[in-house]
Symmetry: C2
Subunit: 207 residues, 2 copies
């Protein structure tokens, strides 16, 4: 596959399509079309076809897509046919909310360690696990084979925590601190800025 040139927006949409296909499958619907998927998620049918075309030929002309097959293909593309252990740094309000967020586990992301440097928090239960001290981070990453780390610490500590995660073998970081951090080229990074979502709304309200 020539995957280097695929826009990140297409990956985000594949993720959204897969949720729609899961709903169709759940309803017992066997075949669908780019038009139906497009309607279901609010993009154009041409966009659906273009996004899928990056990954080969799906579906049959005049018949459409088999819902289960397409769903399975997309999950495979997204790397979601196996589960992903995740470590989470920061057990403040956001970290707590993320550790309890049901949307992660539903998609195969299992939080295998929650870490904080506050002695008051260490040892407290959060969901199914106890909050660990930072000193245990290296052990947990190795033992659980975690490749993904989520940063939910105050902005001033985000870069330091990113460095620590990378030194201990983490290959992909999701950063919720509202501060840009930098990582080596071989590490995948995604900064989540929750305010961007509100700005899409205010753009539309301002038209």
């Amino acid at each position: 596959m020539k995957v280097q040139k695929i826009p990140e927006a297409s990956i985000v949409r594949l993720s959204v399509y897969s949720r729609h296909l899961a709903r169709l499958d759940h309803k017992g619907i066997v075949t669908t079309s780019s038009g139906e998927i497009a309607d279901g998620v609010g993009v154009s049918p041409a966009q659906v076809r273009k996004d899928l075309a990056y990954f080969g030929e799906f579906g049959t002309r005049g018949v459409g897509y088999n819902v289960k097959d397409l769903h399975r293909h997309i999950l495979k593309i997204l790397g979601l046919t196996n589960d992903w252990p995740v470590v989470l740094i920061g057990a403040g309000h956001l970290g707590t909310a993320l550790s309890l967020y049901r949307g992660f586990l539903e998609r195969g992301f299992k939080i295998v360690g929650i870490f904080d440097n506050d002695p008051q928090k260490v040892g407290q239960p959060l969901g199914n696990i106890d909050i660990s001290p930072m000193e245990k981070l290296a052990d947990v990453i190795r033992k659980e084979k975690a490749k993904i780390g989520i940063i939910a610490v105050p902005s001033d500590y985000a870069q330091e925590i990113a460095n620590l995660l990378i030194r201990n073998g983490i290959k992909a970081i999701l950063n919720f601190a509202p501060r840009a951090i930098s990582v080596p080229e071989e590490v995948e990074l995604r900064n989540v800025d929750l305010a961007v979502n509100l700005e899409v709304l205010t753009f539309k309200l301002s038209l």
Copy 2:
């Protein structure tokens, strides 16, 4: 302006460009180029030019963009030259984290009311305000002229809360519950699914 056809991804990128321009301005940089902006945020220069072109002519050929001017223009496009009062429903872990999230206030989003139906939570302080009972929602929306509502309640209540917000005059909803909700066409809706961010990472890790 012909704004109907602008892809949502372009709006998201404008929001990202504006953050980069704020950083450049902060550093005292006066002019920039599509190439510099592109490097700073990780897209192609052509993409930057295309996104900006939806909104008219910016910059001077051979000179580039004036950082302050372009920043102001983008903030205006995004509707961010004025502040936006926001009501937040749900004072659980996610609601608490969102109410304390500094990234909102930095972009002009002020949470003017936090609502919960748990009598144990009502009256408790959260940030600068106290948690209100649901019965006060209509009053606060009217008094504060709030147009935006954030839903951070359990999935099973998300649709009901959306209906309540809309009945009370809310025009745009940001939904954090991992459940699709439906709204009338004239209401703007954005569903935030935090797992999508992890899936962009697993896609890349799976290459």
